[in-house]
Symmetry: C2
Subunit: 226 residues, 2 copies
């Protein structure tokens, strides 16, 4: 039955159209200020139809955010090909995350709500599972690199690669969040260069995790300025 398949395709396409409309509004206004009526208008559909495709505003928000995750995953994959050394790869991942932050700021911002407990409760289980899948892929990529580093004697043998990944992520994420706020308190009043701070921290943490062998190798990779 070709008709069923065509209908399936059309449904999927409609789903994408809705995500695209939602994206426009969520990017412009953020979650609380965006309204489903507005999204419906951009999508040229009635509000009721949105609810045929997504259970809630929050679910739709996650659907948009997932596009960001996919972009991030591809960027990470591309930044860390197998033929590169462990240190090159882990540094490239850090850079790729920052590049994602700069280039896809709107997606980056959406993740804020993902860390919110109240938000989690608003979202359907299916949608959360979908996200978890995506996150897991990114996660495995990073942990895999650190694991390689341990095997190769570049990182401390007693380092837990999952612990290490969390620490590196937590650090970069928190600093980018601050950068994004673009609060004059930091940049003007305190005269702090947050990007430099983030890089410094990344370096500090990485070095702290390395063996002597790793540190030697690391020195050859660092740019002139520390």
């Amino acid at each position: 039955m070709g008709i069923l398949e065509r209908k399936e395709r059309e449904k999927e396409q409609r789903r994408e159209e809705i995500i695209t409309a939602a994206q426009k509004i969520f990017f412009e206004k953020g979650l609380p200020a965006a309204t489903m009526d507005e999204i419906a208008e951009v999508a040229e559909l009635s509000k009721g139809t949105l609810y045929l495709y997504y259970k809630s505003k929050e679910d739709l928000y996650l659907a948009v955010a997932m596009r960001g995750s996919e972009i991030m995953y591809r960027m990470f994959e591309q930044a860390a090909p197998k033929h590169k050394s462990v240190l090159e790869r882990i540094m490239a991942i850090g850079d790729a995350y920052f590049q994602f932050f700069q280039q896809y700021r709107d997606y980056f911002r959406m993740y804020e709500y993902f860390e919110n407990q109240q938000f989690h409760k608003q979202v359907s289980q299916e949608m959360l599972m979908c996200c978890a899948n995506n996150d897991q892929k990114i996660w495995n990529l990073v942990v895999g690199i650190i694991q390689d580093g341990i095997t190769q004697g570049i990182f401390d043998a007693d380092l837990d690669p999952r612990q290490a990944a969390i620490i590196l992520w937590a650090n970069g994420n928190a600093l980018m969040r601050l950068m994004d706020r673009d609060d004059p308190y930091w940049t003007e009043h305190m005269k702090i260069d947050l990007e430099k701070t983030m890089r410094k921290a990344y370096q500090l943490i990485l070095e702290g995790m390395m063996t002597r062998k790793g540190k030697l190798q690391y020195k050859t990779l660092l740019p002139k300025e520390a």
Copy 2:
């Protein structure tokens, strides 16, 4: 005029009563799910009266959160008295933050919204200034300790104490946020001890900032387990 003073006192008291009622509801439900009607009922006042004392729901939320800041500041102050050494103080500050997180979890959670851009736009300038004052006090405390450490040759001379403070804060904060989510993904599926991870990171970062002298002193302070 004793009457004017009494009225002033009563107004201040009412203000506190409102904060206390709001606190109960915000703790129970979080910002989005809490309603002003509910707060008014707990305060045994009409909703209109709440708006005589606070410009918006968000302003009231901040007023509650500020109670948390004050507690945190007192805890930090107490944890880091002048007679202690720099390293003892900076470690005690880290511990105090974690203690605040555990003991005043509800206040800790409130700060999530403080990092949200949309939230900032909802809040009155006066209220933000009030918060900034409180934050500045905590900030100066921490930066002061690190500055002392640099002067005493315990931290690297080229370390920017404000940068260092941000890094330490970002790290602890991000990990506690994760702990608070209490996501089975980390604790059960990945079998990660987030508290250990946080302590490990704090240690890693601190050590990375120290001179040889500092590291020697640090070793005498560490508990048996690394």
